[in-house]
Amino acid sequence: MMLRLKEISKSYPAADTGHMMQVLYMEKLVIRANERVALVGPSGSGKSTLLNIIAGIIRPTTGSIKLNGQELTELSEREWDRVRTHCFGYVFQNFYLLPGFSALENVLLAMQFAGTWRGRERMERAKELLHRVGLEARLHHRPHQLSNGEQQRVAIARALANEPCLVMADEPTANLDAANAMRIIELLTEVCAEHRAALLLSTHDLGLLRYMDRTIHLGGAGVASNVHS
């Protein structure tokens, strides 16, 4: 797997003046298979925006994103949906679990929509993933019956459901206490390694960087980018 970003920018019209305001500019970023990359930077530096652009949730204003040589910015919405579903896994800061569905169903739904696996295999895989994140006893609990840490575990299991080549996590520990945050980040790096998935996460917590291979510092106002290995 190779994800290559080039001269990616995102601008929005300013609420007061209506003038276009750039919130992100990244000259170049390359992520390879099994890599663990952290995005750090102050609030508003464009970390989440970058993740959402890669996931196809928002479109970049300019630039190129290539996944294994395929230009994603030229894809239709449906095609990018498909790439997001099959190639990327996304763990949100707010978990974004479906409230009417159990932990097991939340994981199953991701596979259902992607059309991956079938019948019993799908069920077995969902249970296996939840078992891997330590929720084998919470399969049938709904999100409101789970702690924040448990919800984040379900979100991780869901992100891995379709065997993605890249897992993105937006501030995955922001809503967790320190002990839970550590456990979650360990889990995330471990399961990504097990599934041979690259990991790209954004965080404010510099303590997490020791688990990463590379750190990318996004400058203030998202205008500049600095890359450190």
Binding site: R78, T85, G100, E105, L108, Q112, F113, M123
Partner: protein
Amino acid sequence: MLRAMSILSIAWRNLMHRKLQTLITVLIISLGIAMTLSVIMLTNGIKEGIAEASKPYGMLVGSKGSANQLVFNTIYLMDTPLANLPLSYVEHLRKDERVAQIVPFGLGDNYRGHRIVGTTEQFFELRSPSADESYFQLQEGRMFAEPFEAVIGQRAARATGLSIGDTFTSGHGVVEAIEEDHDHAAYPYTVVGIMKETGTPADMGIYVPIASYWISHQQMEWEDDWFDPSHAGSRAEDEIDNLEAEHQEGSVDAHAMEDGYSRETEHEAGAGVTALLVQPESYMQLMQLYAEINNSQIAQAVFPGQVLAEMFDMLGSGEQVWSYISAMILFMTVLTILLFMYQSTVEKRRHLAIMRVIGAGRANIFAIVIMEAAWIAALGAAAGVMLSFLLTYTTAWYISQHSTLSVLLTFTREYAVLVAVIWAVGSAAAGLPAIIAYRTEIAKHLQLN
């Protein structure tokens, strides 16, 4: 559980996440559908019941007066009888070569509100068109053979508790008397047979030899050959001419014509019959007799089917009002679904956005919303159908308990089609909310901008 999580099951889970709102919406829809279906089923059922009851009857002949009254009194055992036809007129028709069969009816007495119908054995030979078997058959016991023997309808038997061998005394008039009728007390009836249930007003009747009427009303002596009109008053053909003349001069008992049955009328007119079922040899003769009888000054001839058709025509405008009301209810049902789905979609756009971000396509989201409406419409329709059956059968039972009318309920293909249309329109009502859902932007609703 999740063995095959399809769009249908996702839609179901979404609904179950809002149980109370879903339940209330389903309840409103089911009430609308139940009211509509009940009105249609009852209207058709009453019509069918009325039409079914008239099947074995051909041309009815009675005194001049209301055709509706003649039909309703004779066939449906409702309303008051018209004035009696004199037996000389019956004799006149019997002697007519064109007449194949005459079945007399005498009405005017009751037992605990159940009409006592004086007739002959020929009544039990009547057939509905194209039927091989007699329409009215015995379930137990035997046919009456002598005056004051009675064969009772199934529902009359159940309601009165009468069984074979029991005796009872009739009361004068068509409704149950508060005080005992001492005149009739001297002439008790004995139950000798119970009829099979026909689902018609006949089930509520008590059938006795017509001579019982004449004897109990002191219009004739007990005789062995008890239905021979010539015994009751041997009027000759020329007497018919006299009767015609009397009617033309206006000396006919106007009281009897206006008030229908009355004891005084009977005594003055002598023994008579309330109505006659006249069956000619051929259709041509039927039409001839129909014209002749109606041209006479004494009697009228009516075809029950024709009278009922006119009555249904009159009721038609009322039915139309009901159909408008039903259409309005259905429209409100569709609006209810639209409102529920719109509110539900707006409320859960965030959830829809989550589904989108984990892989659901816009088409999936559209289909999920439509399926939610389909579920609601289907549940509403199912509950509505069940409720309509409950309402309809309860109302039909009430009608049968409080009148001689039978409601013939059938669930035809048209009802199934109607329910399917309601379901389809109800599901389609989610079109607008589904489009809103379809246009859900992930970034906007998950605040990922």
